[in-house]
């Protein structure tokens, strides 16, 4: 079995209780951290090559180093919005091993000089939030949260904030606005959250999985973390596999594990022994890949090389029985629904793309529709406040480029080329 960093419930199913967590070395990282100075912690995290697990893969230590030094209110915010279609990993860290997130929040808070932390959990996960709240309460009782933590003089309070159903609140500045009690419309950057974040104060936002890596990096050292995964892509990754596989689920594996191994060994292969047609490697916004990519190591840099991205590590598997036009029309509807409406190209472009794709899917597509779609993509890409517009483009353009013949077939024959499909609309 490979190294377990995050899924400690596979070692002890009761690790969500603080006593059990402590038996596995829990809160040792915090003790060690409090004996270091904040800059040493940031340096250690930098050296570990930990990169953000929320989608962009930005180096975590570097992000922390952007926070201004010195006194003054600062915030550490955890992104537990988990809204990217196909993604269901942070949920299991929170429900099975919540203390590792809590411990990571305290260490991160200490490193960046924040005295308050918020965990922003999507509203639908209220049942998960209850488990996290219980862990927070336990941590307060043991003196790992609150005033003068372990006699270090460091104070840190941690609260849960529930979202209320809006994908855009997963974008970090949308999340910040939502935490402030406003609509979750993203902000123009700069200023970046490290200068002007939640309540106008310097703020760092990190994903659940990113933060949960921190306690073990501090406890066991960056050198240990560097032994897992390929260079510059170190650590384990939770891959969330869904779609047409026999054994869908979450698997913690070293970064760089080949896609083939994840789909065919861990996720049990394709349902009914069917052929693989398409696979989204990193949540719906990651451009779709085909069977020729099965030997790709699943890490940030390798996926970038083939024009896609690791994103959230959510793998959506589609067998030969999938109509690509139909599947991606559904995703086009998602982006159109979730656009916050601030930027014209995204507000107007995403519903327009959905409309065109739906008519192609319905057998009413017109000649030239595919080029029209690509043209709209060009007019959205890079012209919006936040990356949602780009995400819609990456998703839709990726599908068109790889499966253009299916789109053209739909237009020409006014029907689908796949028999036996499970209808989506």
């Amino acid at each position: 079995m490979s190294e377990i960093v995050l899924f400690k419930h596979l070692i002890d199913p009761e690790v969500r209780n603080i006593e059990n967590y402590i038996k596995l070395g829990g809160y040792e990282g915090l003790k060690k951290a409090l004996s270091m100075n904040p800059d040493e912690i940031i340096e250690e995290v930098k050296r570990s090559n930990l990169r953000g697990r929320g989608g962009a893969g930005f180096p975590t230590g570097l992000k922390w180093s952007f926070m201004p030094k010195g006194e003054g209110q600062k915030y550490f915010v955890c992104n537990a919005d988990e809204g990217e279609p196909g993604t269901f990993k942070d949920r299991y860290i929170m429900s099975e091993n919540p203390h590792q997130l809590v411990e990571g929040m305290v260490i991160g808070g200490y490193a960046i000089g924040a005295s308050v932390g918020y965990i922003y959990i999507r509203g639908e996960f209220e049942f998960v939030a209850k488990t996290v709240q219980k862990a927070i309460d336990e941590a307060y009782n043991q003196g790992f949260l609150g005033k003068n933590i372990l006699d270090s003089g460091f104070d840190f309070d941690l609260y849960i904030h529930l979202g209320a159903g809006a994908y855009i609140c997963g974008e970090e500045t949308g999340l910040i606005n939502s935490l402030e009690g406003k609509t979750g419309k993203p902000r123009l950057k700069p200023p970046f959250p490290a200068q002007y974040g939640v309540f106008g104060k310097p703020t760092t936002v990190n994903n659940v999985e990113t933060i949960a890596c921190v306690p073990d990096i501090i406890r066991r050292g960056a050198d240990w973390f560097l032994t897992i995964g390929p260079d510059k892509n170190n650590g384990t990754k939770i891959f969330a596999v869904s779609g047409h596989v026999n054994n869908p689920g979450v698997f913690e594996l070293p970064m760089g594990t080949p896609l083939r191994e994840i789909i065919y060994e861990h996720a049990g292969g394709i349902i009914g022994g069917k052929k693989l047609k398409a696979v989204i490697p990193g949540g719906s916004s990651a451009p779709v890949l085909g069977p020729e990519h099965l030997d790709i190591p699943m890490d940030f840099d390798s996926l970038k090389k083939v024009g896609s991205m690791l994103g959230s590590g959510a793998i959506v598997v589609m067998s030969e029985d999938t109509c690509i036009v139909e599947a991606f029309t559904r995703l086009a509807r998602f982006y159109a629904h979730e656009s916050c409406g601030q930027c014209t190209p995204c507000r107007e472009g995403t519903p327009w793309m959905y409309k065109i794709m739906k008519r192609i899917e319905d057998g009413n597509g017109k000649k030239g529709d595919v080029d029209l779609l690509l043209d709209i993509c060009k007019n959205i890409m890079g012209r919006t406040i936040c990356p949602l517009g780009d995400a819609a483009v990456l998703c839709i353009k990726g599908a068109i480029e790889r499966f253009r013949d299916e789109f053209e077939y739909h237009i020409e024959h006014k029907k689908c080329m796949v028999d036996n499909k499970i209808p989506i609309f």
Binding site: G83, E124, G184, S242
Partner: protein, 163 residues
């Protein structure tokens, strides 16, 4: 009828207020609380939350309409929220919606005449590995198929499930 928060409500709300540096930040948690308490976010609920927080009604209304989880219309006793995003759709979410339409005689967005059920199609619920999924009020029902949906409705009708 003017709504009000009673003493217990106010105690709970004050607890929430302590987590934030200002009143505006309480808008979402107060709306969640009010929706649990009063069933849905009516105009009166919006006014009440605005008054309690000393914020403009327009602000609370704006927030309440932005987020899909705040129901601006009454919903049935059981709110059936069917995920039809990609992973659920690949495994037959549409068939679940069709089944629900057939059993309940309503379409997504509608509520049965007896006020028992509302069907809503929702986006990814973060439960794609146990697809297809329906969230009934706050509870997730995972790995569903048409037969299980029939059983689910049956159990809900009989009041056998605590959701």
């Amino acid at each position: 009828m003017a709504l009000r928060f009673d003493e217990n409500d106010m105690k709970a709300l004050e607890k929430i207020r302590e987590r934030y540096p200002n009143n505006t930040a309480c808008t979402l948690p107060f709306l969640h609380y009010a929706q649990d308490r009063f069933g849905y976010v009516s105009d009166d609920v919006i006014k009440l939350v605005a008054e309690t927080l000393n914020l403009p009604v327009a602000h609370v209304l704006n927030v309440a309409t932005f987020y899909t989880m705040f129901n601006k219309k009454p919903v049935g006793k059981y709110h059936l929220q069917v995920c039809t995003n990609i992973s659920c759709s690949l495994l037959g979410a549409r068939r679940l919606v069709d089944k629900l339409e057939e059993i309940l005689g309503i379409k997504p967005g509608e509520t049965t005449d007896d006020g028992m059920f509302t069907i809503t199609e929702v986006e990814c619920l973060g439960s794609c590995g146990t697809a297809p999924v329906i969230q009934v009020n706050e509870t997730y029902f995972e790995n569903l198929d048409e037969k299980k949906v029939e059983d689910l409705i049956e159990s809900l009708r009989k009041g056998e499930l605590d959701v």
